[in-house]
Symmetry: C2
Subunit: 304 residues, 2 copies
C-alpha cells in the first residue's frame, strides 16, 4: 500500500470527448478517500474504474463551473440508493449550497445520510480540513470566476525507532509513543539518552497540489513549492496562448514553467481542450521545460 | 434513410453500471431529432455514439427522477459552448422549470439560445407537439411520482401518384398536390376521375410508444394499441415481482404481456436494474410471452 494514490476519473475540460470525461480525481491517503472536483458522469467513472466510496467522506470543489460539479447530484443520489449513512462533506465556494440544495431536496428526499456544506473563502489560504495525519488547505487561483487550488499534505510523521538501541537502553514500552514524537529518554539512573540515539528520521511526508482552472499565475508558487506531485491544468498548447489568456486557462509550457520554478518533484497535466485528439504535443511541450511531466488520462493511477 | 430510427443512449436504471448508462433515447423522424429522457452523462453518450444535435429541438422528459433528467444541465451547457442558436424546447412536468432554471441562470449565463419549458399535464392524454408530418402525445403512467408515456406517430402520409395514369389523363402538375391528398381530378371535359384511379395507398405511418417508469398497468393499452415499436421498461425479472411492485416498476414478463395485449409489432425492453449483469434471462422471459422482443443496449439502433 502506497502512502498516496491519485486516480484520474476525468482528464478533459468543459466538453467531454470519447476518451476524456469532465474533471474528477480521487485521492487516497491513509485509508481515506477524497474526491477533488466532480464533473458530470463522475459516478459512471467510479463504476467503470471500480472506485470504492466507502471511505469517501469529503469532496473538494475547486470552482463552480459545470464541468467541475455537475456530477454531484447524481453521485449523492446513488450513494443514497446504496444505503450510505455517513455524513458527506462538500467543501466549496459558498454559492454551491443554495444552488444544490433545492435539487437535493427534490431528487434526494429521504437521503439516509447528511450532506454538509463546508464553504471556504476562495481569497484565503486557510486549512479547510485536517486530521491527525494530514491537512488540506486552499489557495487562490485566477480564473473567470472564483477558483481555488488545493494543497494536500501529510503532517510530519513519527520518528522511526531503532530497535537495537531501544533494547540496549531497556526503554519501557509505554515510553515508545513519546520517543517516536521526538522525546529524549531518561533512564532509571537519571541518564538522558538523546532522541537521535534511539530513533532515525521519519519517512518524508508526501504532498500533492491541485491547480484547476487558472490562468498562468506565479503567485501560486509559494503554495506549491517543492510538492511531490503537482497537478496543473494545461488546457491549451502554447501556440494557442491567446485562447488560453482569453479563457483564463494555462498552456502546457506555462504549467511546466510553474513546476520548474516551484521545484516540484513531478508534474501532471490535464484538463485538455476537446480540440486536441492527440495529446503527445502537449506532453512534449511540457517536458521540454520540465522533463518529469506526465499527462493524465481517464483511469490512470499515480502512486507516491 | 429509414422513416424512424431509435438509438439507445442509456439502457440502465437509477444506478449506472459499467455497460448501462442512465436513461436516454434519441428518436429520428423526418430529419428531426428528439431526445426522450436525459439521464446523467447523456452528452457523453452522444459524443461516444456520434449523435448529431443539429436537428435536436425538442426534449421530452417522462418524469422527474434523476436518472431521467440529471443530464439536462450538462447537455444544455455544452450546446451553448458549441454555439447553438436555435431555441430548445423541454417538455416535462411543470416542476422541472423552477428546479432547472436557477442552475441554468448560474452555470449557463449568456447561453446563445433560449431554453423554453413546455410543461404538460401528466394526467392528460394531450398532444404536446405536432408539425406537418407527426405528433407527440402523452398518456399517464403509474409510478411513485407523476410519470408519462409518449406516443410518437407519423400523420397519415400522402397517397402515391401512379405515373402512367397521371400521364394518361394529362393531369396538370399544379393539380398533383391535391390529388396526393386524396382529391379526385376533373378533366377539361368535366369527366370525374376518382382519386383511386390515379393513386395508390400511402406508405403506412409509423408509430413508437415509450413507457418508462411505470408499474404494470393495463390502462395504457388504448394508447399503445398496434404501435410499430413499443419501448417498455422491464426493470426486474418476474421472480422479483414484489420488488417491482414496491418500487412501482414492471417485470419483463409483464412488459411482454402488455405488448401482446396491445398487438404491437415489436417490443423493446430496458431500464434494467443494476443487479442484473446478464440480461439474457430478462429477454427469454419476455420472449416466452411475446417473441418479437429485443433488449436495448447502450448504442443500439433500431430502424423502422
Amino acid at each position: 500500500m502506497t502512502d498516496l494514490r491519485l486516480q484520474i476519473l476525468g482528464s478533459g475540460s468543459a466538453m467531454p470527448t470519447k476518451s476524456r470525461n469532465q474533471v474528477a480525481q480521487v485521492l487516497s491517503l491513509h485509508n481515506k478517500t477524497f474526491l477533488i472536483d466532480c464533473g458530470e458522469a463522475t459516478q459512471v467513472q467510479m463504476v467503470r474504474f471500480a472506485v470504492s466510496t466507502s471511505r469517501l467522506n469529503h469532496i473538494f470543489i475547486s470552482h463552480l463551473h459545470g464541468d467541475h460539479c455537475f456530477g454531484l447530484i447524481g453521485l449523492i443520489s446513488t450513494l443514497g440508493m446504496r444505503g450510505r449513512t455517513a455524513d458527506l462533506y462538500i467543501h466549496s465556494h459558498p454559492a454551491l449550497e443554495p444552488l444544490l440544495s433545492p435539487a437535493l431536496n427534490f431528487f434526494c428526499r429521504d437521503l439516509p445520510f447528511k450532506v454538509i456544506f463546508q464553504p471556504y473563502d476562495h481569497t484565503s489560504t486557510e486549512v479547510i480540513f485536517e486530521d491527525r495525519s494530514m491537512e488540506v488547505s486552499v489557495f487562490p487561483l485566477k480564473h473567470s470566476l472564483p477558483s481555488s487550488g488545493f494543497l494536500i499534505k501529510e503532517k510530519e510523521k513519527e520518528r522511526h525507532i531503532i530497535p537495537e538501541k531501544v533494547k540496549f537502553y531497556q526503554v519501557p514500552v509505554k515510553e515508545i509513543p513519546l520517543i517516536k514524537q521526538g522525546a529524549d529518554y531518561i533512564t532509571a539512573e537519571g541518564e538522558i539518552i538523546p532522541n537521535n540515539h534511539l530513533t532515525s528520521d521519519p519517512s518524508p511526508s508526501k504532498s500533492f497540489a491541485y491547480c484547476s482552472d487558472t490562468i498562468y499565475d506565479e503567485k501560486i508558487l509559494p503554495y506549491i513549492e517543492g510538492v511531490d506531485l503537482l497537478y496543473h491544468e494545461a488546457t491549451f498548447l502554447h501556440e494557442h496562448l491567446a485562447k488560453a489568456k482569453s479563457t483564463m486557462h494555462t498552456t502546457a509550457l506555462q504549467a511546466a514553467t510553474l513546476a520548474q520554478k516551484a521545484h516540484v518533484h513531478r508534474l501532471l497535466i490535464g484538463h485538455f481542450s476537446a480540440r486536441y485528439d492527440d495529446l503527445s504535443p502537449l506532453l512534449k511541450e511540457a517536458q521540454s521545460v520540465f522533463p518529469e511531466t506526465s499527462i493524465v488520462k481517464d483511469g490512470t493511477i499515480f502512486d507516491l
